[in-house]
Structure formats: structure tokens, C-alpha cells
């Protein structure tokens, strides 16, 4: 029981760390059109870099499983996006408000959904790795917590560019990581049952994330700046994320 509580507590710490990703936005005072493009470019790069990390992890367990999980992830975003378009074209905003606002809202719902689903897979990964012995627990927790911060930056970049306040950005970032402690516990207890599903889950998360970036976040970014500026910011953010993950992994 003590171990279960410990796994949950460690998972919770990693979730709270995601909220730290909102902090850099205290420094960004006004959000201009140009800034929205750049923020979306940063978010795209961070998420693509994170997906590369997931793909590397998933293909270690099995290429086909990761690939089919990825296709399911693409399908999931396709269906979710269609649903959001059809059923909530004006959700949360007063009738007759500008269509751009509804698009922004859809994008926000989409990124929070995607990041939440992706932390389901990460939660399983945490729990499963704890199965290897509690000695590694602290190290893994710190690694995942640190790794969550740029993910919080990605979420906050999209929310902040739609006018959401910094504390709320932090709140939603934490919410998106809550599945980590929740999923870590069963994965820790039933490692044998969860392990075969892991590459599918990781592939699903990577596919959903890549597809959402290509479908929504990048086109939005390119619309608000030159291809050169947006593309270079995206590439550099992606490289930074990959370097970061490599350093965290040791």
C-alpha cells in the first residue's frame, strides 16, 4: 500500500511540474498577431520533438505496434476534430461572435485533449518503469517531471495566444497531466497486463500529437508570419526539445 501511495504521489509531482510551463508567459505581456504565430511555432516544435522521443521509445518495443497505434491516434484526432466542428461550432462564445474565436476554442480543446491522452500513455510508462524497483523511482520521477515542463509550455503557448490568463494556463497544463498519477498506479500493480499495450499507447500518443500539430497548430502559425520565421522557430524548438529529452534521459 505504501508503494502504491508513493507511486501516486510521485505521479502527482510530475503532473504539478507541467504547470511550471506557464511561468515563462508571465514575461510576455501583450499577445499580438505576430506573437500568436511565434507561440504556435514554439508549441509545434516542442510537440514534434516530444513525438520523436515517443516514437524512439515505442519502436524499441515494436515498430508495427507503434505504427498501428499511431494510425489510431490520427483517426482519434480526425474524429474529435470533426465532432468539435459539427457539434460545438460556437461553444462557449456568444452566438454571432467572430468565427476566428470558435476556431481558437476548438484548437484549445484539441490541444488539452491531445496532451491529456498523451499523458495517459506516459502514466503507464511511469508505472511500468516503477515495476523495475523502487530504487529508481526518484530518478524517474524527476526525469518525467522535468520533461513535463516544456509540455506545459506547449499547452500554455496555445492557450495564452487565445487570451487565457497565466494562472489558468498553469491549471490546464496540470489537468492535462493528471492521468499520469491515475494511470501510473494500475500500470505499476499490473505491469504484466499493461506492458504489451505500451507500444500501442505510445504510438497512439505520438500519432495524435503529430497529426494535431500538422492539422491545426502549424497552419495557424504559418498564417501569422513568414514561412521562414515560423519554420525556423519550429525547427529550433524541435531541436531544443530533442536535446532536452536526451539530457534528461542521461
Amino acid at each position: 500500500m505504501r508503494d502504491v501511495l508513493l507511486v501516486f504521489a510521485y505521479g502527482m509531482i510530475t503532473a504539478l511540474a507541467t504547470g511550471l510551463g506557464a511561468l515563462p508567459f508571465l514575461l510576455v505581456r501583450t499577445v499580438s498577431g505576430r506573437m500568436i504565430g511565434r507561440l504556435n511555432a514554439v508549441a509545434s516544435g516542442l510537440m514534434l520533438g516530444a513525438s520523436f522521443g515517443l516514437l524512439a521509445e515505442g519502436t524499441r518495443f515494436g515498430g508495427w505496434q507503434t505504427f498501428s497505434g499511431g494510425l489510431l491516434g490520427v483517426l482519434f484526432i480526425l474524429v474529435t476534430n470533426r465532432y468539435l466542428r459539427e457539434h460545438h461550432p460556437q461553444a462557449g462564445s456568444p452566438a454571432g461572435s467572430e468565427p476566428g474565436k470558435a476556431d481558437g476554442l476548438r484548437r484549445m480543446v484539441l490541444i488539452v485533449t491531445v496532451m491529456t491522452v498523451h499523458s495517459l500513455a506516459e502514466g503507464v510508462a511511469i508505472g511500468a518503469s516503477f515495476g523495475g524497483g523502487m530504487a529508481l523511482a526518484t530518478f524517474i520521477t524527476v526525469a518525467i517531471a522535468v520533461h513535463n515542463i516544456p509540455e506545459g509550455v506547449a499547452i500554455s503557448a496555445v492557450l495564452r495566444s487565445n487570451g487565457i490568463s497565466v494562472p489558468r494556463c498553469a491549471g490546464w497544463s496540470i489537468v492535462s497531466s493528471l492521468p499520469q498519477p491515475v494511470m501510473a498506479v494500475p500500470a505499476f500493480l499490473f505491469v504484466e497486463a499493461f506492458a504489451p499495450a505500451l507500444p500501442y499507447g505510445i504510438g497512439f500518443a505520438a500519432g495524435a500529437m503529430v497529426f494535431m500539430v500538422l492539422l491545426e497548430i502549424l497552419p495557424e502559425a504559418y498564417g501569422k508570419g513568414s514561412a521562414r520565421e515560423i519554420g525556423t522557430i519550429t525547427t529550433l524548438s524541435m531541436i531544443a526539445m530533442m536535446l532536452f529529452q536526451k539530457m534528461v534521459a542521461g
Binding site: T66, F211, Y222, T232, K246
Partner: protein, 242 residues
């Protein structure tokens, strides 16, 4: 067969595969051209996959790779400054602008050279990885040369002239592949830097040239689908390598 010859052979296959792409005739609709967009998306997804495969083989210090990658990004940025990319429509170059044609061919040539570096460094890591990279880039070259040919036709070039331009813009690929292979095998310490350079340059090509051009031609749903499935397939095939 000696290894440099293998490098040359496969890099040449990659370059030559551009020719059928150059022969494909694209429907020239006045406003947007979906097929053009999907060709860009296919090339972009394949190239993202190639970059992913290269990131997986570097066991060297992450810092050298990252610095190399930033240099690769800078290199592509410099080629864009030299060719003044922002004033050039890659798909529909301005007929009135006499520099548009040469600049277009120059961009494609620099692009092909970058891919040559990727093939060469992959060959230096492992021959089977290099062959895989060459074949992946060969597939990627087909839609890319088709894009070049549709643009040169727009400029009024004849079909033989277009094929000539496609070949001209791709000769740098095998040359750079062999040169990179020589560098990385004779100076092994350069390997992580060159790997990083190739990754950074490939990623920046995707983000500054291929993806923005694709979104101009077709809706983001189809672009995202084509690019992510292409990425997935290259990642899958790259993982099967021995």
C-alpha cells in the same frame, strides 16, 4: 565493391529517381492544386522520417549533435537569404522575373546537396542505414522533381529542357554524399556534428519550404494525413533495419 562506389551508386540512384518525377505532367489549375500540395506533403513527411531515423543512430554526446543541428538550420537559412526565397513562389514562379528560373533551380540544387549530406553520413554510420536513406530520399525525390518540373513548365521550359534542369539540380547529391562519407569516415570525430547538421538541415527544409508550400495548395486535413502517414512509414521501415 568498394564502399565509396556503393555510396556513389546509391546516391546516384536517389538522384536519378528524380527523372520520372520530372516527367510527370501535373494538371495546371489556376488557383490551388491539390496534387501539388500532396506531393509536397509526401516529400515533407518522408523527410521528417529520414531526420527521425538519423536522430536514432547518434550515440555521441547530445551537445555536439545539437550544435551541428543549429548549424544545419543556419545553413538552410543562408541558402534562403542567397536565393531570396521569400520573393519566390516555389510552385508558380513569376514569368516576368528573369531571375526566378535560375533561383528555383538553385534552391532545388541546394536542397539536393543537403540530402546528399544525409545519405553520406548515414552510409558512414552503417551501410544498410545508408542504403535505406538513399532509397527513402529516392522516393522523396519523385514528387520533388515533379514540383520542379511543374514550376519550370510554368516558366515556359520545354520537356527535354525540364529533364535537363532536373538532372542538373540533382548532380550535387551523389557528389555531396561521397564527400560527406569521406569526411565522416576519415575523421570519425566529425560524425556526431555531421549527423546533427543533416538532421537540422532536413528539419528546417521541411518547416520552411515543404510544409508552408503544401498548405498553400490543399486543405490542412489532407496535408496532415499524407505527411503523418509518410512519416510513420519511414519510421516503421527504419526500425526494421538490422
Amino acid at each position: 565493391m568498394a564502399t565509396p562506389l556503393i555510396v556513389l551508386l546509391y546516391a546516384s540512384i536517389a538522384a536519378l529517381s528524380a527523372i520520372p518525377g520530372g516527367l510527370v505532367r501535373w494538371s495546371a489549375e489556376p488557383s490551388r492544386d491539390r496534387w501539388l500540395g500532396w506531393a509536397y506533403a509526401l516529400a515533407a513527411g518522408g523527410m521528417l522520417g529520414a531526420a527521425f531515423v538519423l536522430t536514432g543512430v547518434s550515440d555521441a554526446t547530445a551537445a555536439a549533435g545539437a550544435i551541428g543541428a543549429v548549424l544545419g538550420v543556419g545553413f538552410i537559412g543562408a541558402t534562403h537569404s542567397v536565393t531570396r526565397l521569400e520573393t519566390l513562389d516555389l510552385s508558380r514562379p513569376d514569368r516576368e522575373d528573369p531571375t526566378a528560373g535560375p533561383r528555383l533551380v538553385a534552391i532545388h540544387a541546394l536542397h539536393a546537396c543537403t540530402e546528399g549530406v544525409a545519405i553520406g553520413v548515414a552510409m558512414a554510420v552503417d551501410l544498410s542505414l545508408g542504403v535505406f536513406m538513399a532509397l527513402a530520399i529516392a522516393v522523396h525525390n519523385v514528387p520533388e522533381a515533379a514540383l520542379l518540373s511543374s514550376a519550370t513548365r510554368e516558366q515556359g521550359a520545354s520537356l527535354p529542357g525540364t529533364v535537363g534542369l532536373v538532372i542538373l539540380s540533382n548532380v550535387g547529391q551523389p557528389a555531396l554524399a561521397v564527400a560527406t562519407w569521406l569526411l565522416a569516415t576519415t575523421v570519425p570525430a566529425s560524425l556526431p556534428w555531421v549527423l546533427g547538421f543533416a538532421v537540422g538541415a532536413l528539419l528546417n527544409l521541411v518547416m520552411t519550404e515543404l510544409l508552408p508550400a503544401s498548405y498553400r495548395e490543399a486543405g490542412s486535413t489532407s496535408i496532415a494525413l499524407v505527411a503523418s502517414v509518410a512519416l510513420g512509414l519511414v519510421v516503421l521501415l527504419g526500425g526494421i533495419l538490422p
